[in-house]
Amino acid sequence: MTQRVLEILINAFWRILLPGIKVTLPLTFFSFALAFVISVIVALIQYADVKILKQICRFYIWFIRGTPLLVQLYVVYYGLPQIGIKLEAVPAAILTFGFNEGAYMAESMRGALEAVPKGQIEAGYCVGMSYLQIIRRIVLPQALRTAFPSLSNSLISMVKGTSLASVITITEMFRQAQIINAIYYEPLWLYLEAAMFYLLFCSVITLIQRAGEKKLSTYGGVK
């Protein structure tokens, strides 16, 4: 690594990290929040076997999982305006990432819901609770605990996935690295530097996940 490259990298440090903090992280946060809400709703509809809505949920998961995220981004941002739906780049990205990851997370949630021993539902009925009360207070908390590692996975995957927002004009970390590279042409080092920031973010999430799991490992520690 030459003196020149080092200077470029130092100079680029904040210029890449800043959009990381200002764009990548908020994009991840809002997309994940949306995905989480979608996943819980879609999983519960399937778990409770709600007619018609369940079919719609299956279709949604089938469609999302069977098409590439990049294509979905293009459809939402460049395609939808043709039928009069014009979205700004950031909302378009959040919607796409949210609905995309939501489909995968819904499957994790559904599995976690189904893993909760059914007898507790019957016990809930027998002490006079309604189905919704049982779901909200007994089943869902246990399912969220079970789904936690898999949801963390989705969050990590989403941090990296936001780099795709660069293709719809959003200047997040990776796009910023591209812009700087266009000036200095040091693709190896500059892209590695961007990669390092993704690694950093994901590492922090992994640490939080570990701490979270420790805290949640309860209902008495033993399973």
């Binding site: 021993p117 007898g119 507790q120 019957e122 016990a123 809930g124 009925y125 027998c126 002490v127 006079g128 609770m129 309604s130 009360q133 207070r137 007994i138 908390p141 246990q142 605990r145 309860t218 209902y219 008495g220 520690g221 033993v222 399973k223």
Partner: protein, 247 residues
């Protein structure tokens, strides 16, 4: 008469209940006995609407309902006067011992929190579990969990408690503690309908035996008559089987 069911039919592909009828009076401890697969558990689950019977009537507190068409509202009303103890305890795994008992009171019945806590602690005291209020089910032995489940049932002040093989999932050395609690309840006059394989309990604690086989009630008798002098052939075989198994 507190509870009466008549002509209950239920099928899972094959017919498992073929027109069952039985009666429980206030203060009765009725033991339902019979070989595995005779439909005892299914009957209990139909009586508390955990399974839907295809045919039959249920009379509770002098009101008669059709089991096949009973409304959700009626089901909820009856359930609020009954309690159920499961073979596998079915405690809420994300709740503490205390919360397991208060949950139905606070959430199911809208009771004030302090009052619910008071009732729950009293119920847990009755089963000897008031020293583990903050433990989670996973930290308890099977016998302790079942005692908490019984406290959960007691706390709702039911007119009758249904027990579905309450000791069948327990290690042999833990069975006694649960049976003792049940015996205390019986002595206090609690009405109980108990599906069980515990012949000593059936013989010494219950006031009536209902013997079932292949989805039918074969014989109904007081415990002494049933164990000493059963009338029906299948009941005789069953009792002899128990005696020879013991010797």
């Amino acid at each position: 008469m507190l509870l009466k069911v008549e002509n209950v039919h239920k099928s899972f592909n094959v017919e498992v209940l073929k027109g069952i009828s039985l009666e429980v009076n206030k203060g009765d401890v009725v033991a339902i006995l019979g070989p595995s697969g005779s439909g005892k558990t299914t009957l209990l689950r139909c009586i508390n609407f955990l399974e839907k019977a295809e045919q039959g009537t249920l009379t509770f507190d002098d009101v008669t309902y059709d089991l096949a068409t009973i409304s959700k509202k009626d089901i909820n009303n009856i359930r609020k006067k009954t309690a159920f103890v499961f073979q596998n305890y079915n405690l809420f795994l994300n709740k503490t011992v205390l919360q397991n008992v208060t949950e139905g009171l606070i959430i199911g019945r809208g009771m004030d929190k302090n009052k619910a806590r008071e009732i729950a602690v009293a119920a847990l005291k009755r089963v000897g579990m008031d020293n583990r209020l903050d433990a989670f089910p996973s930290q308890l032995s099977g016998g302790q969990q079942q005692r908490v489940a019984i406290a959960r049932a007691l706390a709702t002040d039911p007119e009758i408690i249904y027990f579905d093989e309450p000791t069948s999932a327990l290690d042999p050395e833990l069975i006694g503690e649960v049976l003792n609690v049940m015996r205390d309840l019986a002595e206090d006059g609690m009405t109980m309908l108990v599906v069980t394989h515990e012949m000593n309990f059936a013989r010494n604690v219950s006031s009536k035996i209902v013997f079932m086989d292949e989805g039918e009630v074969i014989e109904t008798a007081d415990p002494e008559t049933f164990f000493e002098n059963p009338k029906e052939e299948r009941a005789k075989t069953f009792v002899q089987g128990i005696i020879s198994a013991r010797n």
